[in-house]
Symmetry: C2
Subunit: 97 residues, 2 copies
């Protein structure tokens, strides 16, 4: 959980997760969205992997990253929960309040 918050503390890494929300992408595709070098992006991917926020699957010469939504959700949920906030895990747009 600490690793998750550490991972989320960098805006580039948060943006990577946002890019992955709609589906998996390769390291290269992700890198194309940022101004920093590939090795720098690779280091960010490593932090995200270490926090278990993404998984990486190699196919051919590229590596496809996928968001581990449940890990992100659990971290936000358990932290928010301490403050009496609840996270609704419904992906649906139109639910309660």
């Amino acid at each position: 959980m600490n690793k998750v918050f550490k991972a989320l503390s960098d805006p580039t890494r948060r943006h990577v997760l946002e890019l992955l929300r709609t589906g998996p992408m390769t390291a290269g595709e992700l890198s194309d969205h940022f101004e920093v070098s590939k090795p720098t992006m690779s280091a960010h991917f490593a932090v995200l992997r270490e926090a278990d926020l993404v998984d990486a699957v190699k196919s051919g010469r590229s590596i496809t990253y996928r968001l581990k939504m449940s890990v992100l959700e659990d971290a936000l949920l358990s932290f928010a929960g301490v403050f009496g906030l609840k996270i609704d895990s419904n992906n649906k747009e139109g639910s309660s309040s």
Copy 2:
């Protein structure tokens, strides 16, 4: 919002916020819950103030810190929102799905 996530990346600071969830406390009272020195705690308080997650009111020779719940909530809400997660701001325990 970046400052909020930066502030949340440290476990001591997250713990401070948790201590404040039930009500305001002075710098000294908060510090008593941790093993680190007062100046170190003071620096953590400064980061939390800078992120606008707490406010500080001086009365007499102590300083009372109070959690700015709405700021914490807004940050979690807007980030979680990107991923289709919803945070329920009801303090109530027993609400919906």
